[in-house]
Amino acid sequence: MDKQRRKFLKIAGVTALAGIGAPALVRLSSSNALASEHGAAEGHAAEAAHGAPVEAAPQGVRLGMVIDMRKITERPELLDGAIAACIDAHNIPQFDNRKSEIKWLWKAPFANVFPVESSYHLAKNVKETDFAVLCNHCDDPPCVRACPTQATFKVKANGIVAMDFHRCIGCRFCMAACPYGARSFNWEDPRPYIKKYNKDFPSRMRGVVEKCNFCGERLARGQEPACVEACKGTGAIVFGDLNDAHSEIRQLLDKEFTIQRNAALGTKPSVFYIV
């Protein structure tokens, strides 16, 4: 009996030592791999030091939008028309209290849209005109990373940050994650506040988050997004593939100076503004 206990204690001691020592061993044996990784990182840093950080060439379609604020300043009714078209297309409820507000495409002053840009001594037209704001359909969307149910996700085929309302559990992590405030929560049943139904699109229910979907359902039917269609012919909103060098939107981006909302965050917004 005594002998057995002694043996047991020995084995237990050796096992415990091995258990504690194993992670250290693994770390030691993988130090080579780590070293090479470190080297690669240094290489990148060196490249970055010489200019812009090196990025892999973008692939596939990435839909984006250029909003020409000069044209909207000239004719503010364009933006009103675009917002109305969006509301009609997506059964968006209209609440009186701002807490319940549901926003897909909305208006906001320059200082709120571009808080990082200087708003000291702004040009008069920029100071006085409201900007068109919508989901930026980021190339690296923080909302998608935050969503625990993958209710919001990036569509691989066109880069749209889409939502599956069926799957949303209303946790609002995405709203906290979105740096642009582009997401709204249905605090109450939206149905009574929808002015007019579009029978081709559902409404939402209480407890679900929603946002602009770049009119994915209209694009599938070969139509332009509702807001783009509402401004047709004016060039106030240009929509297209950012990765296609010959698209109208790229021609415009090559020609004009544009700004993105808080680009420093690294979310790579797909909505550009000409101020």
């Binding site: 066109n158 002015k195 029978k199 081709d200 559902p202 229910m205």
Partner: protein, 132 residues
Amino acid sequence: MYNKGTIIPGLIIFVLFVTFPIWFNGLKAATVPKPELPPGGEKKCVESVEYMRANHMQLLNEWRDNVLRDGNRTVVTVEGKDYRKGLQQACMQCHSNKEKFCDSCHTYAAVKPYCWDCHLSPKEAVSKEETH
């Protein structure tokens, strides 16, 4: 037997209480609902009747994932007519009366699908139509 006077009436009351749903309905099962066939006279659905009866919910889920996740919005063609995948876009085009079609069975089977929390039934869709 001890306490015969209380046990036997007690048992009778218990049995009557437990079988309440059976005798209250006159020993008959509720009539099996007959969902309304499409008022437009369409005879063929996207799948066979048996398949739809048993699996329409799976089909709807498949369509949902096709459309929203995979971007596969190919139209379904039945007898030369094109239907876009979707509850509002395909099903309700023919089965235009939700109350007489969907609800009749769902109420009988005591299931409460949450489709209609968001999707608009044809009746609701026209309740707030464009007036101008």
